[in-house]
Subunit: 378 residues, 4 copies
């Protein structure tokens, strides 16, 4: 694994737990973790249970005891590391968004395609697909439970930079993060909307904004006197609408300026036979309205997605005993391992990650061009 910050901890929890909970044909061994700071990476290896620590990702990739490389770095290094790992014959799991640009993502998808011919697997880490309620919703859509889709409506709201004095961390700098709320939050909801709908966006119209244009440099806050400041070079919020292939309408909002919304990813699909709604802050619940039932008897029902028949739940606790955020990484690890063992392609593929990147690029194009409707290349 490359990277040991927030995503590194979450992925470690996934790799450590998957084979302890699920019956897997292969049991992942946590061979080595990689980071640039020798002391910190050594401490992280020890803490999270990795057998070895490396300070150069090229060394990690070169190890014989590494069959799968998990890329948890900021987006600017995804392409380089993931492509090298694939070239070196490793399976790759890469955090989302796949890359910081369409060009990088295309190169990655190409590399994955070539690697696939050699039996290697590549997956992009849209972990929210692995929330049982989301997987159950997908199952219900595929089963025709909501009928012809009319609307997809998604918001992903956070509030960690509402304070204008919050420092200029890497996620607020274009050269490292690629974009702001759009790539961080928007990538998730574009993937989820398309995954749940089972179809893709064909065009978008977008509005983006940076509310706070400069912020104190990290560490500068405590230094007394006027703190050194730097420019915020990414979006704080992105609003976009779009059309799906079937003609359904979609709306998206990603923001880091929604005070009180901590990690509020809400998604709703309306079809002519029913509707589904989900809120990540209540991740064990799925709301379903059956529009084919008599009106006097119907309404959104709150399904606790904790039954043995629900996706991933056969391995966990009795009904009503909910899971948390990090379980999505356990499921992701399970699915990746299962695909490798079965010799099948895990989803979402790098191709899927590339397509999300194309949507994000179309959003940025539209935002620059006065919101004009902008097709997403197929």
């Amino acid at each position: 694994m490359v990277g040991y910050a927030f995503m590194g901890a979450a992925h470690s929890q996934g790799w450590r737990t998957a084979a302890r909970v699920f019956d897997l044909p292969l049991r992942p061994a946590m061979a080595a973790i990689c980071g640039r700071d020798p002391d910190a990476v050594r401490a992280a290896a020890d803490k999270h249970g990795w057998a070895a620590a490396e300070t150069d990702w090229r060394d990690l990739i070169a190890r014989d005891d590494v069959q799968l490389v998990d890329v948890c770095t900021p987006g600017d290094s995804h392409a380089e590391i993931a492509i090298a790992a694939l070239e070196a014959g490793k399976h790759v799991l890469c955090e989302k968004p796949l890359a910081n640009s369409v060009a990088e993502a295309e190169a990655m998808a190409d590399a994955a395609r070539r690697a696939r011919a050699r039996g290697q697997r590549a997956m992009v880490g849209f972990n929210y697909r692995r929330t049982p309620a989301i997987a159950q919703a997908r199952r219900m859509v595929a089963d025709g439970r909501i009928g012809v889709l009319r609307h997809v409506r998604v918001t992903y709201l956070q509030d960690w930079i509402v304070d204008p004095e919050f420092p200029l961390v890497w996620r607020l700098r274009r050269e490292l993060a690629g974009s702001g709320a759009l790539g961080d939050l928007g990538a998730h909801i574009v993937d989820l909307a398309q995954y749940l709908a089972g179809e893709r966006l064909v065009g978008v119209s977008a509005l983006t904004e940076t509310f706070v244009r400069d912020r104190p440099l990290p560490g500068a806050a405590n230094s007394g006197g006027a703190a050194a400041r730097g420019a915020v070079t990414v979006d704080d919020a992105a609003l976009f609408t779009g059309r799906l292939a079937s003609g359904a309408l979609a709306s998206f909002e990603a923001s880091r300026f929604a005070a009180g919304r901590k990690n509020s990813l809400r998604i709703e699909l309306n079809g002519d036979h029913g509707s589904l709604a989900f809120d990540l802050e209540r991740l064990n619940e799925l709301s379903f309205h059956d529009h084919t039932a008599p009106a006097a008897d119907s309404g959104f029902r709150r399904i606790l997605v904790t039954e043995p028949d629900h996706p991933y739940l056969e391995a966990w606790w009795p009904p009503g005993h909910g899971l948390g955020y990090d379980h999505t990484f356990v499921h992701q690890a399970r699915d990746m391992v299962a695909a490798i063992a079965a010799g099948t392609d895990p989803e979402p593929s790098f191709e899927d990650g590339l397509q999300v990147q194309r949507v994000l690029a179309a959003v940025e194009d539209s935002a620059e061009k006065n919101c004009v409707y902008t097709p997403v290349p197929a």
Copy 2:
């Protein structure tokens, strides 16, 4: 009052009740109701408690015992009736949307301006402003409780035409209704967003859609054989984003195709000091997040807007005893009567109604022009 259908009944309830609940300086007398069908209007007068019935609105306006004309007809006749009533020296309450076009709305606003010089009052019936929770939210925004506004997010979702065989009623015909979900639902949420924000939209980008292009003619359904069908000439759904004068972002969705959402008007405002959220299906509740409190102690609180200190509540029931939809019409009647008695201008004015009309026109323009960002004339 002109018109005796859904809105006629709701307005009658308002006029009948206002002086029975509130202490008003003037007590409205329900002089006469008007409609084209003599038997039906006579029955409506009797049912709803109007002293007389008229079949021509010109006769209604000519009556000496009528000081105020309440226009509850479909939008295509608003301008003609309201202007004539104002010219005849009557106060006028006109249902929303003010008119079916900007030109009509301008003529109405002009007429109201002239009438105002004569001491007459004109108000447009955006009754949702009179929901106590909305009025309380406005009060809190005005008091600075949410600080600098960043986002307004509004959806108004219904589902009464999800079935493609639902007939082609007047609300689905442009020549009568002006537009579809946009004018019916969108007008409400544009007004509410601007009212709560205390500022206006400066531009919009929009996407509209008509999912079901033709429908059976009303009454045709039971006639055996292939039912005669007609074209739906209004939008089924309208999505738009925009910018407010302060730079805050706004998003809107109005749809009649959201299965399971019966009358789901949800509005949220995010500022740097707090957030407010409201859902019309739970109209006695207001959610407020105080972002100035310590994070460990804060979250959206559900204020039951039923305290004596809340707007309109001094006249109703003890805390926790909620109001319903029709109470908004009682409050509207109260506010109109109070303004007439006080010689002040009630809000929202015809000028406000005209401005909403301009936003709706900009939405339609943008939708026709590939979603391009379209300024709203000041």
Copy 3:
């Protein structure tokens, strides 16, 4: 009508509105209102729309233009007024609880029985039965939707006397109110539980408490110096459990000391085929769980009880447009008038009110006798 305070205003709203909304065979005329203070009752008559005012209820009962007497006084005068009205040949609607003692309630039920033979009607004002969601729940229970009943669970929580300095109003004095939270709130939930279950309590075990034993006398608070105080002679809270005739278990809690719960009446029924849940603070919603559906697909659904097929809703607004607290009084007036016109007995009868009184007496007995299980006389 006798009494013109909170209940007087609510009942007036009911009588005034019922025939304006529903198609009724008889239209109630609001003949006269009665109260002891001549100026106040005159003002109330004028405000609420009663044609005449009386200061002695005996005079009211003697009026020829009065066919129905609506008793809205505190409980200590219910028996005397209601019995006299029945003897005088009037129909009677009496606020709940029917009386302050079982003996009074028995005399009232006797009087109602005799009057019934003369074609007079008597009803007790358990208005919450007229909440559409409650009436719909009753319909679903009667249709077997929840199967064999196992549990009824009801709480009715308020918080208006949490402050120990809140004054000693009439509701806190046994000689006027009969009991405290028990008679005021407990009577409602005993009636609702039995109504929804369709069966009666056969025994109870109870615990009651008066947390604040003395309070300032009303008006004394502002008099400077140590305020005169008096003893609170009713319960502040009552908890009781019981068995229904079928063997189902029931639990009840009535309290005026639940900070933040304004008018929180929650009721849940669990059967072997399903469950129903209701919360008065969200009175347009009914939660239903269908336990006969596959577990993976089921959960509590939130039925918005605003469809034309729902009880009372045919006369009101389109789906999703909710009603409020005072609509229950409109429905109560409608049902009373409809029963009089049809010559049938309205429900709940004085007999039903008496039985509730017997439950409350058993609760007080049990509370005095160390919580021992106390049968309710049949």
Copy 4:
């Protein structure tokens, strides 16, 4: 660890994860797991990550590499194993309820007291205390945020035996389980109520019921012909009320017959300064009402207990990224290890577990004696 079923898996997840997430002074090594079936326990060891497997708990206790014994067996063997482990010089974590009888619990508490003098630690596994929202609620009560306590109201509802054909598993047999819903669910809520209140129950009045008196023997269902049946010898539901030392009232309901309620543990505390409410099905949320704020501005606020300042959260994910059921076992392991390292006594102690047992015994006494109020021995 002794036992490898549901609780065994949950506890394993706790031991495996605690030191990977929290910075602990000691890192637990998972030495050996014990169960009677040699193949099954071997497989469980392998699956859950235990180094060795034993088939006799006496052998486990005798191992030198075992310093702590975690007892996850049914209640009938708790006393024997835990006491032996303590005598053998091991620290002990014992699943709740501490024992099947007061006598056993007393012996265990005695053993713990003796062991404590030798520096050994004993803790009973009321894991729900380790839910961050519960720990935060306790912190707020201790800080005086709700003031003088008036009410504690707790229900713990499940529905897994609603079907009368559900088989007679060990949890339905008194000789193994001690009691039914009472010991399984009631023990949790008695502990939580007392923990949150910071005081103990002094007496209770109770009603219990077994709705389904006999059930098919396990495995018999598929054997064709009339299935062999056995008697259910525990309660299906237990309702009880009580008084806390301060005079506050408490109500409890534990049931396995609440259709649609999967794991619905709800607790609410009302004090004169505020109220707290929690629902285990939404375990990342805590509702708090501040009764000292102006009424027009107050209401229950939904605190997402995912902030770094909240208990246990410093080690987990960013705000809004919720935890699940099994995290409570991670926290339990952490707290046990931290106490051992610090040489302090972990809570809840065996003494606490004994006191809960006394409450449960008083409940059973009261239920047998016509609900009479029954003191809980101090």
